[in-house]
Protein backbone atom coordinates (compact mmCIF):
# COMPACT_ATOMS: atom_id res chain seq x y z
CA UNK A 1 0.00 0.00 0.00
CA UNK A 2 1.34 3.37 -0.98
CA UNK A 3 1.18 6.12 1.61
CA UNK A 4 -0.57 9.34 0.57
CA UNK A 5 2.46 11.50 1.05
CA UNK A 6 4.01 12.44 -2.25
CA UNK A 7 6.72 14.45 -0.52
CA UNK A 8 8.30 11.24 0.66
CA UNK A 9 8.63 9.84 -2.83
CA UNK A 10 12.14 9.58 -4.28
CA UNK A 11 13.18 12.66 -6.20
CA UNK A 12 13.91 10.69 -9.35
CA UNK A 13 10.39 9.26 -9.31
CA UNK A 14 8.83 12.70 -8.75
CA UNK A 15 10.79 14.11 -11.66
CA UNK A 16 9.79 11.22 -13.88
CA UNK A 17 6.15 11.71 -12.87
CA UNK A 18 6.41 15.39 -13.69
CA UNK A 19 7.97 14.62 -17.01
CA UNK A 20 5.28 12.09 -17.84
CA UNK A 21 2.67 14.66 -16.87
CA UNK A 22 1.24 12.82 -13.92
CA UNK A 23 0.68 13.50 -10.28
CA UNK A 24 3.64 11.97 -8.42
CA UNK A 25 1.50 10.02 -5.96
CA UNK A 26 -0.72 8.66 -8.69
CA UNK A 27 2.33 7.77 -10.73
CA UNK A 28 3.88 5.87 -7.84
CA UNK A 29 0.70 3.88 -7.30
CA UNK A 30 0.46 3.08 -10.97
CA UNK A 31 4.06 1.92 -11.02
CA UNK A 32 3.51 -0.16 -7.91
CA UNK A 33 6.31 1.66 -6.16
CA UNK A 34 6.10 2.28 -2.43
CA UNK A 35 7.65 5.15 -0.59
CA UNK A 36 11.39 5.03 -0.47
CA UNK A 37 14.29 7.15 0.49
CA UNK A 38 16.62 8.86 -1.97
CA UNK A 39 19.09 6.11 -1.07
CA UNK A 40 16.62 3.45 -2.09
CA UNK A 41 16.21 5.22 -5.36
CA UNK A 42 19.93 5.43 -5.88
CA UNK A 43 20.05 1.70 -5.61
CA UNK A 44 17.43 1.69 -8.28
CA UNK A 45 14.63 1.08 -5.83
CA UNK A 46 14.30 -1.80 -8.13
CA UNK A 47 13.40 -5.26 -7.40
CA UNK A 48 12.77 -7.38 -10.43
CA UNK A 49 9.04 -6.86 -9.98
CA UNK A 50 9.43 -3.07 -10.02
CA UNK A 51 11.40 -3.32 -13.19
CA UNK A 52 8.72 -5.44 -14.77
CA UNK A 53 5.99 -3.02 -13.74
CA UNK A 54 7.84 -0.01 -15.03
CA UNK A 55 7.16 0.73 -18.67
CA UNK A 56 10.23 1.37 -20.77
CA UNK A 57 10.32 5.13 -21.16
CA UNK A 58 10.42 6.47 -24.67
CA UNK A 59 13.87 7.67 -25.63
CA UNK A 60 12.65 11.26 -25.62
CA UNK A 61 11.48 10.88 -22.03
CA UNK A 62 14.77 9.61 -20.71
CA UNK A 63 16.36 13.02 -20.50
CA UNK A 64 15.19 16.50 -19.81
CA UNK A 65 15.61 18.80 -22.79
CA UNK A 66 18.38 20.96 -21.41
CA UNK A 67 19.35 19.51 -18.09
CA UNK A 68 18.87 16.02 -16.76
CA UNK A 69 17.46 15.27 -13.33
CA UNK A 70 20.81 14.68 -11.65
CA UNK A 71 21.72 18.35 -11.32
CA UNK A 72 24.22 18.20 -14.15
CA UNK A 73 23.58 21.06 -16.60
CA UNK A 74 24.20 18.67 -19.46
CA UNK A 75 22.11 15.74 -20.64
CA UNK A 76 23.22 13.22 -23.27
CA UNK A 77 20.73 14.76 -25.67
CA UNK A 78 22.02 18.27 -25.08
CA UNK A 79 25.62 17.19 -25.57
CA UNK A 80 24.62 15.38 -28.76
CA UNK A 81 22.75 18.28 -30.36
CA UNK A 82 25.43 20.76 -29.30
CA UNK A 83 28.06 18.81 -31.20
CA UNK A 84 25.84 18.71 -34.28
CA UNK A 85 25.87 22.50 -34.26
CA UNK A 86 29.35 23.38 -32.96
CA UNK A 87 31.34 20.36 -34.05
CA UNK A 88 32.64 17.23 -32.34
CA UNK A 89 33.85 17.98 -28.83
CA UNK A 90 32.45 21.51 -28.79
CA UNK A 91 29.53 22.86 -26.78
CA UNK A 92 29.65 26.48 -27.81
CA UNK A 93 31.21 29.09 -30.10
CA UNK A 94 34.74 28.60 -31.35
CA UNK A 95 35.84 25.69 -33.48
CA UNK A 96 39.46 24.57 -33.73
CA UNK A 97 40.41 27.38 -36.12
CA UNK A 98 39.10 30.10 -33.79
CA UNK A 99 40.63 28.49 -30.69
CA UNK A 100 44.04 28.24 -32.35
CA UNK A 101 43.80 31.81 -33.57
CA UNK A 102 42.73 33.10 -30.17
CA UNK A 103 45.61 31.37 -28.40
CA UNK A 104 48.39 32.45 -30.78
CA UNK A 105 49.58 34.96 -28.19
CA UNK A 106 50.19 32.16 -25.70
CA UNK A 107 53.21 30.95 -27.71
CA UNK A 108 52.39 27.33 -26.87
CA UNK A 109 54.96 24.58 -27.45
CA UNK A 110 55.24 20.82 -26.78
CA UNK A 111 57.27 21.31 -23.60
CA UNK A 112 54.47 23.23 -21.95
CA UNK A 113 51.69 22.18 -19.66
CA UNK A 114 48.34 23.86 -19.84
CA UNK A 115 45.19 23.99 -17.76
CA UNK A 116 41.87 24.60 -19.50
CA UNK A 117 39.11 25.69 -17.14
CA UNK A 118 35.67 25.06 -18.58
CA UNK A 119 36.92 22.32 -20.86
CA UNK A 120 33.42 21.13 -21.87
CA UNK A 121 33.86 18.03 -24.08
CA UNK A 122 37.54 18.78 -24.60
CA UNK A 123 37.30 19.93 -28.22
CA UNK A 124 39.24 23.17 -27.64
CA UNK A 125 41.89 21.37 -25.56
CA UNK A 126 42.39 18.67 -28.20
CA UNK A 127 42.69 21.31 -30.93
CA UNK A 128 45.44 23.07 -28.96
CA UNK A 129 47.24 19.85 -28.15
CA UNK A 130 47.08 18.65 -31.76
CA UNK A 131 48.28 21.96 -33.12
CA UNK A 132 50.94 22.92 -30.56
CA UNK A 133 51.78 19.60 -28.91
CA UNK A 134 51.01 21.03 -25.49
CA UNK A 135 49.98 18.74 -22.59
CA UNK A 136 46.57 19.69 -21.25
CA UNK A 137 44.52 19.12 -18.15
CA UNK A 138 40.93 20.21 -18.59
CA UNK A 139 38.60 21.03 -15.72
CA UNK A 140 34.87 20.82 -16.26
CA UNK A 141 31.96 21.14 -13.82
CA UNK A 142 29.76 18.68 -15.70
CA UNK A 143 30.55 15.06 -14.96
CA UNK A 144 28.64 14.09 -18.08
CA UNK A 145 30.89 16.20 -20.32
CA UNK A 146 34.03 14.96 -18.57
CA UNK A 147 33.06 11.35 -19.13
CA UNK A 148 32.14 11.85 -22.78
CA UNK A 149 35.11 14.14 -23.41
CA UNK A 150 37.60 11.61 -22.07
CA UNK A 151 36.01 8.94 -24.25
CA UNK A 152 36.53 11.13 -27.31
CA UNK A 153 40.17 11.73 -26.30
CA UNK A 154 40.64 7.98 -25.94
CA UNK A 155 39.15 7.24 -29.35
CA UNK A 156 41.40 9.88 -30.89
CA UNK A 157 44.46 8.43 -29.16
CA UNK A 158 44.89 11.59 -27.09
CA UNK A 159 44.00 10.27 -23.66
CA UNK A 160 47.46 11.03 -22.27
CA UNK A 161 47.88 14.46 -23.80
CA UNK A 162 44.39 15.74 -22.95
CA UNK A 163 42.87 14.64 -19.66
CA UNK A 164 39.59 16.03 -18.40
CA UNK A 165 38.58 16.03 -14.75
CA UNK A 166 35.43 17.13 -12.97
CA UNK A 167 35.72 19.97 -10.48
CA UNK A 168 33.51 22.14 -8.33
CA UNK A 169 34.24 25.72 -9.38
CA UNK A 170 32.83 27.08 -6.12
CA UNK A 171 35.05 24.88 -3.99
CA UNK A 172 38.47 24.67 -5.54
CA UNK A 173 41.28 23.66 -3.25
CA UNK A 174 44.84 24.60 -4.11
CA UNK A 175 45.87 22.98 -7.37
CA UNK A 176 48.39 20.21 -6.86
CA UNK A 177 50.61 21.30 -9.71
CA UNK A 178 51.55 24.40 -11.69
CA UNK A 179 51.02 25.13 -15.37
CA UNK A 180 52.81 27.19 -18.01
CA UNK A 181 49.54 28.36 -19.45
CA UNK A 182 45.99 28.61 -18.16
CA UNK A 183 42.96 29.19 -20.35
CA UNK A 184 39.58 29.83 -18.72
CA UNK A 185 37.03 29.60 -21.50
CA UNK A 186 33.63 31.20 -20.75
CA UNK A 187 33.57 29.37 -17.47
CA UNK A 188 33.92 32.01 -14.74
CA UNK A 189 30.63 33.81 -15.34
CA UNK A 190 28.75 30.96 -13.68
CA UNK A 191 31.09 30.99 -10.69
CA UNK A 192 29.95 33.03 -7.70
CA UNK A 193 33.33 32.96 -5.93
CA UNK A 194 35.34 34.15 -8.93
CA UNK A 195 37.91 35.93 -6.81
CA UNK A 196 38.81 32.72 -4.99
CA UNK A 197 39.04 30.70 -8.17
CA UNK A 198 41.20 33.31 -9.93
CA UNK A 199 43.49 33.45 -6.88
CA UNK A 200 43.92 29.66 -7.07
CA UNK A 201 44.57 29.93 -10.80
CA UNK A 202 47.25 32.54 -10.12
CA UNK A 203 48.90 30.19 -7.62
CA UNK A 204 48.74 27.41 -10.21
CA UNK A 205 50.45 29.53 -12.88
CA UNK A 206 54.20 29.08 -13.19
CA UNK A 207 56.36 32.19 -13.02
CA UNK A 208 56.34 33.89 -16.39
CA UNK A 209 53.23 31.88 -17.18
CA UNK A 210 50.27 33.28 -19.08
CA UNK A 211 46.59 33.36 -18.26
CA UNK A 212 44.00 33.73 -21.02
CA UNK A 213 40.43 34.39 -19.96
CA UNK A 214 37.36 34.69 -22.17
CA UNK A 215 34.07 35.27 -20.44
CA UNK A 216 30.60 36.78 -20.49
CA UNK A 217 30.39 40.10 -18.64
CA UNK A 218 27.73 42.73 -18.02
CA UNK A 219 27.41 45.45 -20.64
CA UNK A 220 26.73 48.00 -17.94
CA UNK A 221 25.89 48.23 -14.27
CA UNK A 222 22.22 49.01 -14.91
CA UNK A 223 21.66 45.86 -16.96
CA UNK A 224 20.95 43.78 -13.87
CA UNK A 225 17.81 45.83 -13.24
CA UNK A 226 16.35 45.02 -16.63
CA UNK A 227 13.62 42.43 -16.98
CA UNK A 228 15.19 40.99 -20.13
CA UNK A 229 18.46 40.39 -18.34
CA UNK A 230 16.76 38.74 -15.38
CA UNK A 231 14.78 36.50 -17.67
CA UNK A 232 17.96 35.49 -19.46
CA UNK A 233 19.76 34.87 -16.17
CA UNK A 234 16.92 32.82 -14.73
CA UNK A 235 16.61 30.65 -17.81
CA UNK A 236 20.28 29.74 -18.15
CA UNK A 237 20.85 26.06 -17.25
CA UNK A 238 23.57 27.15 -14.81
CA UNK A 239 22.98 30.41 -12.95
CA UNK A 240 25.24 33.18 -14.18
CA UNK A 241 26.99 35.57 -11.77
CA UNK A 242 28.14 38.13 -14.31
CA UNK A 243 30.30 41.11 -13.37
CA UNK A 244 31.48 44.13 -15.33
CA UNK A 245 34.58 43.77 -17.49
CA UNK A 246 36.38 46.25 -15.21
CA UNK A 247 35.54 44.13 -12.19
CA UNK A 248 36.77 40.98 -13.88
CA UNK A 249 39.98 42.68 -14.93
CA UNK A 250 40.34 43.99 -11.38
CA UNK A 251 40.05 40.46 -9.98
CA UNK A 252 42.74 39.25 -12.35
CA UNK A 253 45.04 42.11 -11.34
CA UNK A 254 44.32 41.73 -7.64
CA UNK A 255 45.22 38.06 -7.83
CA UNK A 256 48.70 39.17 -8.91
CA UNK A 257 48.57 38.95 -12.70
CA UNK A 258 49.70 41.79 -14.95
CA UNK A 259 47.09 42.38 -17.66
CA UNK A 260 48.41 42.69 -21.22
CA UNK A 261 45.16 42.60 -23.21
CA UNK A 262 41.62 43.42 -22.14
CA UNK A 263 39.16 43.67 -25.01
CA UNK A 264 35.59 43.22 -26.11
CA UNK A 265 35.20 40.28 -28.50
CA UNK A 266 31.39 40.26 -28.52
CA UNK A 267 31.04 40.85 -32.24
CA UNK A 268 33.24 37.86 -32.99
CA UNK A 269 31.04 35.69 -30.76
CA UNK A 270 27.81 36.97 -32.28
CA UNK A 271 29.18 36.03 -35.70
CA UNK A 272 30.29 32.61 -34.47
CA UNK A 273 26.84 31.90 -33.05
CA UNK A 274 25.12 33.12 -36.20
CA UNK A 275 27.35 31.07 -38.52
CA UNK A 276 27.03 27.90 -36.46
CA UNK A 277 23.23 28.03 -36.39
CA UNK A 278 22.83 29.09 -40.01
CA UNK A 279 22.81 25.47 -41.12
CA UNK A 280 20.53 24.22 -38.35
CA UNK A 281 17.82 23.51 -40.92
CA UNK A 282 20.12 21.03 -42.64
CA UNK A 283 20.97 19.41 -39.30
CA UNK A 284 17.26 19.05 -38.59
CA UNK A 285 16.62 17.48 -42.00
CA UNK A 286 19.32 14.88 -41.27
CA UNK A 287 17.88 14.14 -37.82
CA UNK A 288 14.42 13.64 -39.27
CA UNK A 289 15.70 10.72 -41.34
CA UNK A 290 15.76 8.38 -38.34
CA UNK A 291 13.62 7.71 -35.27
CA UNK A 292 16.57 8.32 -32.95
CA UNK A 293 17.24 11.57 -34.73
CA UNK A 294 13.62 12.70 -34.38
CA UNK A 295 13.96 12.38 -30.61
CA UNK A 296 16.68 15.03 -30.76
CA UNK A 297 14.51 17.67 -32.46
CA UNK A 298 13.02 19.03 -29.23
CA UNK A 299 16.42 19.19 -27.44
CA UNK A 300 17.81 20.93 -30.53
CA UNK A 301 15.03 23.51 -30.43
CA UNK A 302 15.72 24.11 -26.73
CA UNK A 303 19.41 24.61 -27.47
CA UNK A 304 18.49 26.93 -30.33
CA UNK A 305 16.36 28.97 -27.94
CA UNK A 306 19.22 29.06 -25.43
CA UNK A 307 21.69 30.45 -28.00
CA UNK A 308 19.13 32.77 -29.57
CA UNK A 309 18.63 34.33 -26.15
CA UNK A 310 22.36 34.69 -25.54
CA UNK A 311 22.85 36.16 -29.00
CA UNK A 312 20.06 38.65 -28.36
CA UNK A 313 21.69 39.71 -25.08
CA UNK A 314 25.02 40.15 -26.85
CA UNK A 315 23.50 42.05 -29.76
CA UNK A 316 21.73 44.42 -27.39
CA UNK A 317 24.99 45.03 -25.54
CA UNK A 318 23.49 43.93 -22.22
CA UNK A 319 25.99 41.12 -22.27
CA UNK A 320 29.51 41.17 -23.69
CA UNK A 321 32.22 38.61 -24.26
CA UNK A 322 35.52 39.82 -22.91
CA UNK A 323 39.04 38.56 -23.50
CA UNK A 324 41.79 39.16 -20.97
CA UNK A 325 45.39 38.06 -21.44
CA UNK A 326 47.54 38.33 -18.35
CA UNK A 327 50.93 37.10 -17.18
CA UNK A 328 52.52 36.18 -13.91
CA UNK A 329 55.58 38.26 -13.29
CA UNK A 330 58.91 36.74 -12.45
CA UNK A 331 60.97 37.59 -15.45
CA UNK A 332 58.26 38.77 -17.78
CA UNK A 333 56.02 36.40 -19.63
CA UNK A 334 57.22 35.78 -23.14
CA UNK A 335 54.45 36.18 -25.65
CA UNK A 336 54.40 36.17 -29.43
CA UNK A 337 54.02 39.94 -29.25
CA UNK A 338 57.44 40.17 -27.54
CA UNK A 339 59.21 38.51 -30.43
Amino acid sequence: MVERDADKLPLKLKLKAWWEGYDAQEFAERMGIGLGSEKDDEHNGSSASDAAAAPEPAAEDKEDLLAPSDGDAWSDARAAVSQLIWGEGYCGPGGSEQIISMTQLLALDPKMSMLVVGASLGGPARALSQNFGVWITGLEASGKLVQQGNEISKVKGMAKKVTLAQYDPEDVAKFDRNYDRIFAKESLFTVEKKKDLIAHLFDATKKEGLFLLTDYVLGSESVVMKEEFREWRDREPTRPFCVLSDELEGMVKNAGFAVRVSEDISKQYIDLISKAWKDAGTVVAELMKSEDGKHLIDPLLSEAEFWARRSKMLQSGQLQVWRILAYKTGGGGKMMSDW
Binding site: S220, G281, A308
Partner: protein, 110 residues
Protein backbone atom coordinates in the same frame (compact mmCIF):
# COMPACT_ATOMS: atom_id res chain seq x y z
CA UNK B 1 -4.81 8.38 -13.97
CA UNK B 2 -4.90 12.05 -14.90
CA UNK B 3 -4.71 13.25 -18.44
CA UNK B 4 -1.20 13.36 -19.82
CA UNK B 5 0.02 16.92 -20.21
CA UNK B 6 1.89 18.06 -23.25
CA UNK B 7 5.45 18.92 -22.26
CA UNK B 8 6.52 20.28 -25.61
CA UNK B 9 8.78 23.21 -25.08
CA UNK B 10 6.94 26.24 -26.42
CA UNK B 11 9.54 28.77 -27.39
CA UNK B 12 8.80 32.48 -27.65
CA UNK B 13 10.51 34.16 -30.56
CA UNK B 14 8.63 37.16 -31.96
CA UNK B 15 9.73 36.19 -35.48
CA UNK B 16 7.91 38.10 -38.23
CA UNK B 17 6.26 35.92 -40.86
CA UNK B 18 3.83 36.13 -43.74
CA UNK B 19 0.70 34.04 -43.67
CA UNK B 20 -0.76 33.12 -47.04
CA UNK B 21 -4.47 32.43 -47.33
CA UNK B 22 -5.15 31.65 -50.93
CA UNK B 23 -4.30 34.87 -52.75
CA UNK B 24 -4.28 36.94 -49.56
CA UNK B 25 -1.21 37.52 -47.44
CA UNK B 26 -1.14 38.95 -43.92
CA UNK B 27 1.69 39.86 -41.55
CA UNK B 28 1.89 37.71 -38.43
CA UNK B 29 4.41 37.22 -35.66
CA UNK B 30 5.30 34.12 -33.68
CA UNK B 31 4.08 34.17 -30.09
CA UNK B 32 5.46 30.75 -29.39
CA UNK B 33 6.56 27.76 -31.37
CA UNK B 34 7.32 24.10 -30.95
CA UNK B 35 8.01 21.20 -33.27
CA UNK B 36 4.60 20.69 -34.86
CA UNK B 37 2.79 23.88 -34.03
CA UNK B 38 2.94 27.62 -33.78
CA UNK B 39 0.88 30.27 -31.99
CA UNK B 40 0.67 33.40 -34.12
CA UNK B 41 -0.27 36.95 -33.25
CA UNK B 42 -2.12 39.08 -35.77
CA UNK B 43 -5.00 41.52 -36.11
CA UNK B 44 -6.70 39.05 -38.39
CA UNK B 45 -7.66 35.53 -37.43
CA UNK B 46 -8.40 32.93 -40.08
CA UNK B 47 -11.27 30.61 -39.28
CA UNK B 48 -10.54 27.37 -37.53
CA UNK B 49 -9.93 24.66 -40.11
CA UNK B 50 -8.47 27.04 -42.65
CA UNK B 51 -5.36 25.79 -44.41
CA UNK B 52 -2.59 28.38 -44.41
CA UNK B 53 0.99 28.67 -45.59
CA UNK B 54 3.71 30.43 -43.62
CA UNK B 55 6.80 32.01 -45.10
CA UNK B 56 9.61 34.16 -43.77
CA UNK B 57 13.04 35.42 -44.71
CA UNK B 58 15.50 32.50 -44.73
CA UNK B 59 12.84 30.30 -43.18
CA UNK B 60 11.55 27.10 -44.79
CA UNK B 61 7.96 27.56 -45.92
CA UNK B 62 5.41 25.32 -44.25
CA UNK B 63 1.69 24.63 -44.50
CA UNK B 64 -0.74 23.85 -41.72
CA UNK B 65 -4.26 24.16 -40.40
CA UNK B 66 -5.66 26.73 -38.00
CA UNK B 67 -6.78 24.69 -35.00
CA UNK B 68 -7.52 27.15 -32.22
CA UNK B 69 -8.10 30.79 -31.36
CA UNK B 70 -7.14 32.27 -28.03
CA UNK B 71 -6.89 35.70 -26.43
CA UNK B 72 -3.50 36.39 -27.94
CA UNK B 73 -3.77 34.89 -31.40
CA UNK B 74 -4.38 31.65 -33.22
CA UNK B 75 -2.66 28.29 -33.32
CA UNK B 76 -1.59 26.48 -36.47
CA UNK B 77 -0.94 22.75 -36.51
CA UNK B 78 2.09 22.12 -38.72
CA UNK B 79 2.36 18.35 -38.36
CA UNK B 80 5.66 16.54 -37.90
CA UNK B 81 7.20 16.90 -41.33
CA UNK B 82 10.84 17.74 -42.07
CA UNK B 83 9.65 21.19 -43.18
CA UNK B 84 7.86 21.72 -39.87
CA UNK B 85 11.04 20.91 -37.95
CA UNK B 86 13.14 23.17 -40.18
CA UNK B 87 10.57 25.93 -39.90
CA UNK B 88 10.73 25.69 -36.09
CA UNK B 89 14.51 25.87 -35.73
CA UNK B 90 14.87 28.56 -38.40
CA UNK B 91 12.18 30.69 -36.76
CA UNK B 92 13.91 30.42 -33.39
CA UNK B 93 17.34 31.28 -34.76
CA UNK B 94 16.25 33.93 -37.28
CA UNK B 95 17.40 36.84 -35.10
CA UNK B 96 20.89 35.48 -34.51
CA UNK B 97 22.25 37.38 -37.49
CA UNK B 98 22.61 41.01 -36.43
CA UNK B 99 21.45 43.80 -38.66
CA UNK B 100 24.05 46.51 -39.26
CA UNK B 101 24.39 48.87 -36.35
CA UNK B 102 22.12 46.79 -34.16
CA UNK B 103 24.86 45.89 -31.75
CA UNK B 104 26.44 47.96 -29.04
CA UNK B 105 26.61 48.67 -25.33
CA UNK B 106 23.03 49.29 -24.41
CA UNK B 107 23.51 52.31 -22.23
CA UNK B 108 25.82 54.18 -24.55
CA UNK B 109 22.98 55.77 -26.43
CA UNK B 110 21.25 56.98 -23.29
Amino acid sequence: MGERRDHKNRIQTGTELKLHLGDDCIAVHVLNISFGGVLLGSDERPEIGTQVRLTGEDITAVSGNVVRHDAKGFAVDLGDSVEAAQFAVESITSDMTPTDGAMGPEDEAS
